[in-house]
């Protein structure tokens, strides 16, 4: 399963001066997926940026724990999920929608977008966040993972420590819950 072209175009820029140049390739390939998971899991762009930095730094440090049994994407997701969960627990922010600075949301839209486009992107982004925040953490995580076309149900099952069948069943309920909550945010 390949990343859409648009996704690659917007992918994070690789740090050209990395101590290990090969790691820049890992960052380029996976930074968007990890940042997006952190953004929607934590609900705050600044915290998501911090988390993304920390996840990739952990990956850089923990290279010897990666045995190639999982894909790099899956390995990074595992680090990211654990990191985000730890952050949430330490912040005691469960079920609370953090009020991000307005300027941060404005910057989430591409600079070349028209004002209407920016408004729409901002509004849609906020609706999605409010909807995800209203869902149980398990549903939120499953929806974020299934949105990544690179992940199989088996990989999602491994990341969430349950069977692929359980993932399918919960995803069905998660989709229904998402649509119901999303319509309420209109």
């Amino acid at each position: 399963m390949n990343e859409p072209v648009a996704e690659r175009e917007f992918a994070g820029e690789a740090p050209s001066g990395f101590a290990a140049p090969e790691f820049a390739g890992v960052y380029t390939e996976h930074s968007r997926a990890i940042y997006y998971l952190a953004l929607r899991f934590l609900g705050d762009p600044e915290k998501a940026a911090d988390a993304t930095h920390d996840v990739f730094l952990k990956a850089f440090r923990k290279f010897d724990s990666f045995r190639g049994e999982a894909s790099v994407r899956t390995w990074l997701y595992r680090i990211a999920i654990n990191h985000c969960r730890n952050l949430q627990q330490s912040w005691h922010e469960r079920h609370v929608f953090p009020q991000a600075d307005e300027a941060v949301w404005e910057n989430a839209a591409a600079k070349t977008d028209s004002p209407l486009r920016v408004l729409e992107t901002k509004e849609l982004s906020q609706r999605i966040q409010r909807t995800l925040d209203a869902l149980p953490e398990e549903y939120r995580l499953l929806l974020l993972l299934v949105a990544d076309e690179e992940l199989s149900y088996e990989q999602m099952a491994g990341l969430t420590e349950q069977s692929a069948g359980a993932v399918r069943g919960k995803l069905h309920r998660a989709r229904k819950a998402f649509v119901a909550h999303f319509e309420k945010t209109a």
Binding site: A6, Y27, A49, I128, F182
Partner: protein, 74 residues
């Protein structure tokens, strides 16, 4: 005029089945994951993350070559 973001019902999905090969028009999505993919594609990864990471990793020893060789097959 602002566009509405909606999800297609099963009936609507059947009616538009012939057009499934085309990308969703406007802000209309068949599933939540389709919406989330669109949202992810609109999300810009802040460039300062890469800059911070570059500085942070500069103070660390580089990853073992064996790991990188395994990863990149060289």
């Amino acid at each position: 005029m602002k566009r509405r973001t909606t999800f297609r019902t099963d009936q609507q999905q059947e009616q538009t089945a012939a057009h499934q090969a085309q990308p969703a028009s406007g802000h209309e999505f068949a599933t939540p994951e389709e919406l989330l993919r669109f949202d992810a594609a609109q999300t810009v990864v802040p460039t300062e993350i890469a800059q911070r990471l570059q500085k942070s990793s500069a103070d660390l020893p580089p990853p073992a070559r064996s790991w990188l060789r395994r990863l990149f097959g060289s």
